[in-house]
């Protein structure tokens, strides 16, 4: 197993390399640059700026330079936020994003599997129909609708929670809820489908034929199998959520890293965009690995060595 993990990490290196390379050159292909402002600047200043950011060198050399710095953990200075390096920006923003995204994923997992298995056990009853109905609702309503509504109700009208901002007690609740609701809905649907299938399988019939109490049939024999599709779904999703959400961060005014991707791309902040790409790629690789390990633990038929 250890060998497998090492091998997976080894094979992640070329993947990351390809991602970084493609992103680097695609970014440079886009017209415009970080110093093209609405009001033209003195060409001399631009030249000085370019020299300061190493942009006067030929592109391949810039690429090699970026790779070299990346290997040393240096994501470079931000082009648009002149007082910060990209490392600084992530050092402040990433913990916030991880906190919000991680909590949302945990809540979605706990409540989603609970509601999903409840619906499966009461298949075609009012419980089932309400879970499926609410889940469909949760999946279809986009966060940019949910977020302002939550903010309006709980922040403005009821005044129970901060309507936005970061740091005040309870300021996490609404953004987490916005992120968690659609994920919870998807998890509930996945769990429901898988549970219904597992409940029909022969080994569940065996468990019942041997007079095992229904909670054993459910928790010991059904849930472990029905959670497998949820686990595979949660890998990439957790990576996406923990690297921040533009919509939620913008609406609630949260200093996470989700907005950097959009802001960086619009401002041609090359290093900032590249930094975001690297962070997201690393998260995806790590979470996929976690999922694979978890999968092997849950299902002994899966072996990687």
């Amino acid at each position: 197993m250890l060998l497998y993990v090492l091998r997976r990490f080894a094979s992640a290196v070329p993947t990351l390399f390809v991602i970084v390379t493609i992103a680097f050159f695609m970014l440079r292909l886009a017209p415009g640059g970080p110093f093209d402002l609405e009001r033209p600047i003195d060409p001399l200043i631009i030249e000085n700026l370019k020299r300061a950011f190493n942009m006067d060198k030929p592109l391949p050399q810039q690429y090699m330079l970026y790779l070299w710095n990346l290997l040393h953990g240096d994501l470079g200075p931000s082009f648009t936020r002149r007082d910060f390096t990209v490392n600084d920006l992530f050092r402040f923003g990433l913990p916030v994003s991880i906190q919000i995204g991680g909590t949302a994923i945990a809540l979605a997992l706990v409540f989603g599997t609970f509601l999903g298995s409840l619906a499966a056990l009461r298949q075609n009853s009012w419980v089932d129909y309400s879970v499926v109905g609410v889940a469909t609702f949760g999946i279809t309503i986009p966060p940019f609708v949910v977020a302002p509504i939550l903010s309006l109700i709980f922040g403005v009208y009821l005044g129970w929670l901060p309507a936005g901002g970061w740091g005040a007690p309870g300021s996490m609740v609404l953004p987490v809820a916005t992120l968690a609701l659609p994920q919870m809905a998807i998890v509930a649907r996945l769990t429901r489908g898988a549970t219904i299938e597992v409940l029909r399988s022969n080994h569940i019939r065996t468990a019942r034929a041997y007079g095992l109490p229904s909670w054993v049939v459910l928790y010991v024999h059904t849930l472990r199998a029905s959670i497998l599709p949820v686990v595979s779904y949660l890998g990439p999703t957790a990576a996406a959520l923990m690297t921040g959400s533009v919509v939620v961060e913008t609406i609630f005014g949260i200093p996470g890293i989700g907005r950097y991707f959009v802001q960086g791309a619009l401002g041609r902040d090359y290093t900032l965009v590249m930094g975001t790409v690297v962070v997201i790629a690393v998260f995806v690789v790590v979470f996929n690995l976690i999922v694979d390990i978890l999968y092997a633990y849950l299902d002994p038929r899966v072996r990687y060595d």
Binding site: H203, T206, A209, Y210, G211, L212, R224, A225, P300, R301
Partner: protein, 540 residues
């Protein structure tokens, strides 16, 4: 029916109905049944006779759309309508059950030791640790080799026969009064089948529980059962003491079941018959594993240097247990799988033919599969299914002419012309297999590979299909490669037999020679097992 004294399970007027979208299905129609302490009762019937549903109803395991009425008393407890909590004190402790599907009846996610401990944990209040010595003892009792290691195995690490042994061990954990065995050997290879039957008989002698043995195969219970109930379409048509029932069956259906075994033999083709399909040193290997950073793949020799020569009008039976490579060989000979070695059809070298060159030959070389449910497209009418090949091979035919050929092919396999407008799901298993045969025959092939064509069918239907295949062979001078694990059927079909094990031929020869005088030890085991289970035929 005469009342039976000291019965520990007595079923009266048991009725099972299922509510489905297509209306009500009356699966069990008010049957009576008794089981005495320590005896073996067999419930025999073909698929759909309600034999399994009877026991499912008693155990409270019916699907949620099932409704039961009637009574089923176990000692002093009425089981029908008993609340789940109280039923759980009986099932798994006093009455236990093993199933037809050893591959899927155990939870794949838990070690077998842990699963076997569960009935002890929840009926006797033992901890998993405390149950362990008993689990070990049970594993030894059912003859699992190396129990210290096997107790920590997962189900997928065991063979089908071993899994069934584990199921039996689990059933015995709480010293049950009654063990219900629902087709416990049907999914197993014939040698394993014999072992499991012997094990059950031995355990019963040792432990003295009653056994209810549910099966579709009347012959295998003759030595095993004290009494037999014969079921058809939800009713018990006949019941009685085993020997009496075999010697003097009263009901026509019982007589039919007893006579249902395919009989007769096939004469070999004349020595002058030309060789149609010839494989020389055929090899098929599969790659297992391998990939980026994980080393070279392993090679599995599924077919290892096999030579066959199929003559015109000949039937070669390819016999072997699951995993022996017999189906792979059949497919390789038709060039449906990449293989090494030489394959000739008439005067053509097939091993060099590419897809384009093979296409016209596909008409001559046809294949019929085991699974009549999976091999017919559910969205095409039977007419479309069987004429599909004509569209490819004889595209110039007019619609009318194709239709005429379809009717002709259906009549030839004993189906009504009107059935070409119906869909496969409207047919029974035997009828579907006829459709699959018609699909092959409509192209007027020379060689047909029959891959376990009767294995999924009831005995009486098997016999009809065997007779149909023999008639078609005689009418059209066909050559068959008949792949099967069922020696009774092979004996009736083939004039030459190849016995395969692990990709190699262990023995081959004329059918009569192989059956009367098997030389290789594996063939002997195979024969002994088959004779064990099918030795008895209707007297007279």
């Amino acid at each position: 029916m005469a009342d039976i004294d000291n019965s520990i399970l007595s079923v009266r007027k048991l009725d099972v109905k299922f509510h489905t979208d297509d209306g009500q299905v009356h699966a069990v129609k008010g049957i009576d049944l008794d089981v005495r302490a320590g005896e073996t009762v067999a419930i025999v019937g073909e698929s759909g006779s309600g034999k399994s549903q009877t026991m499912m109803a008693i155990m409270g395991l019916l699907a949620s759309n099932g409704r039961v009425s009637g009574t089923a008393r176990y000692r002093d407890t009425e089981l029908i309508g008993l609340p789940e909590r109280r039923l759980n004190t009986i099932r798994g402790a006093k009455i236990t059950m093993i199933f037809q599907e050893p591959m899927t009846s155990l939870d794949p996610l838990y070690k077998i030791g842990r699963q076997m401990a569960e009935p002890l944990m929840y009926h006797k209040g033992m901890s998993a640790r405390a149950a362990r010595p008993r689990v070990m003892e049970l594993l030894k009792l059912v003859g699992i080799p190396d129990p210290e290691r096997r107790i920590n195995s997962y189900p997928h690490e065991l063979s089908g026969g071993q899994r069934q042994r584990v199921m039996i061990a689990m059933a015995l954990a709480n010293d049950p009064d009654i063990l219900i065995a629902d087709e416990p050997t049907t999914a197993l290879d014939v040698t394993i089948q014999a072992q499991i039957l012997a094990l059950l008989a031995e355990l019963q002698q040792k432990l003295g529980m009653a056994i209810v043995f549910i099966t579709h195969d009347l012959t295998i219970v003759r030595r095993f059962a004290d009494r037999i109930y014969v079921m058809r379409r939800g009713e018990v048509v006949e019941d009685g003491v085993t020997e009496e029932l075999f010697v003097d069956p009263q009901h026509d259906y019982t007589k039919m079941l007893l006579a249902a075994e395919p009989t007769g033999t096939k004469a070999p083709p004349p020595p002058s018959a030309p060789v149609l399909l010839q494989g020389t040193d055929v090899r098929v290997s599969f790659k297992i594993g391998g990939g980026f950073l994980s080393g070279p793949p392993m090679l599995l020799q599924a077919v290892d240097r096999i030579s066959v020569a199929l003559k015109k009008g000949q039937t070669i039976g390819i016999v072997g247990e699951s995993g022996s490579g017999k189906s792979t060989l059949g497919r390789a000979l038709l060039r449906l799988l990449p293989s090494e070695g030489r394959i000739r059809f008439e005067n053509l070298d097939l091993s060099k033919a590419d897809r384009e060159e093979m296409r016209p030959l596909r008409k001559e070389l046809q294949l019929v599969f085991q699974d009549p449910f999976g091999s017919l497209s559910p969205r095409m009418t039977v007419g479309q299914v069987i004429t599909e090949g004509l569209l490819v091979h004889e595209p110039s035919l007019s619609t009318k002419e194709r239709d005429r050929r379809a009717i002709e092919a259906l009549k030839e396999v004993g189906l009504d012309a009107a059935s070409r407008n119906r869909y496969p799901h409207e047919f029974s298993g035997g009828q579907r297999q006829r459709v699959a045969i018609a699909r092959a025959m409509i192209l007027k092939p020379k060689v047909v590979v029959l891959d376990e064509p009767t294995s999924a069918l009831d005995r009486s239907v098997q016999k009809q299909i065997v007779e149909l295949l023999r008639k078609l062979q005689a009418d059209h001078d066909l050559s068959y490669l008949f792949i099967s694990h069922d020696l009774t059927v092979v004996r009736a079909m083939a004039d030459y037999i190849i016995v395969m094990k692990q990709g190699k031929i262990v023995e081959e020869g004329q059918t009569a020679d192989i059956f009367d005088n098997p030389r290789h030890s594996y063939t002997q085991t195979l024969m002994a097992a088959a004779v064990d289970t099918t030795k008895f035929r209707l007297a007279g």
